[in-house]
Symmetry: C2
Subunit: 151 residues, 2 copies
DNA sequence: CTCCTTTTCATGCAGTTGCATTAAAATAAA
DNA sequence: TTTATTTTAATGCAACTGCATGAAAAGGAG
């Protein structure tokens, strides 16, 4: 008797899995290298700053950052510390919650986002986008969405 | 005058990029967690061992591993040390090249590969494959291939 | 209110990674 | 042959990550 709920991944699916790992790692590495070559911090910094910029009042609780970025708690805590040391964000005590803090984007952080974007965008173009048609990108977007929780 | 060779990535392409990062990181993390929960070493170990198993004579030079796995030299060097400490591979002096070594899969390493595969395959199924049809997987494979060098 | 549980954030420690450098052998050049 | 360049691998150091734990406040049960 077969167990349909526990069948194996097919060969083509396994190939797709292997290629997802390989291609994403390769492209990400190249994009990171371009950012670094331009004297910019890693992508993780950009991601956090961007999330703050988009947030209500340009600030968020660390817990909220964890949820949105899918990062571990200690990872967010230390990343925030580094960003704060670089004066890209400011740590404030939360007025509503005595345990918590609020992380706010500074003018310097906002400026860094703007400075990085042209380089980042150009890297996405040269390492990723230039290999794909618009249809390819749309299809990729749709298929990868199936892998995300709640999509 | 426009410069067609340097156009910007389109919005849908940027969305696809963001989703590639997010989805691959998420799924990889879940698969790694399942391996760890089963008491197995990280995926990187599996990848190296598998590469060795597939190689002529079940052995490779570190340089060759770097090329195939797209890993940095020092990274491979240390990974091999850890694998050798666990007796999963054996480091031998290269007979042809006095500088180099040859990394050979041991019986223990081969056994680990076989032990890990069922768990790994099941994780690929539950975290990746189950979200995709066969056609989806084939399309993903094809599109991601465009991102790899020389594909 | 008091006690217990949960949530939020920080941190010590060990393991890992990136960077730069070193050492040694192979290869090429003079 | 002698010297310079390139290739191969290892390693000291600093930065980063994961894990476990701890501290402090919030929330809930009695």
């Amino acid at each position: 008797m077969t167990d349909e709920t526990n069948e194996d991944a097919s060969p083509i699916t396994i190939d797709a899995w292997a290629r997802l790992l390989r291609s994403s790692a390769t492209v990400l590495e190249q994009v990171e290298a371009k950012l670094k070559a331009a004297g910019f911090p890693p992508l993780a910094w950009y991601d956090i700053l961007l999330e703050l910029k988009r947030a209500e009042g340009r600030q968020l609780r660390p817990v909220e950052l964890e949820r949105r970025m899918l990062l571990a708690q200690y990872n967010v805590s230390r990343l925030i510390d580094r960003l704060a040391s670089a004066e890209l964000v400011e740590k404030r005590k939360s007025p509503e919650d005595g345990r918590g803090i609020v992380v706010a984007l500074t003018a310097k952080g906002s400026a860094l986002l703007e400075d990085m974007w042209p380089v980042y965008k150009s890297a996405i173009q040269s390492e990723f986008a230039c290999h794909l048609s618009e249809d390819d990108a749309a299809t990729l977007f749709r298929l990868l969405g199936k892998l995300l929780p709640g999509k």
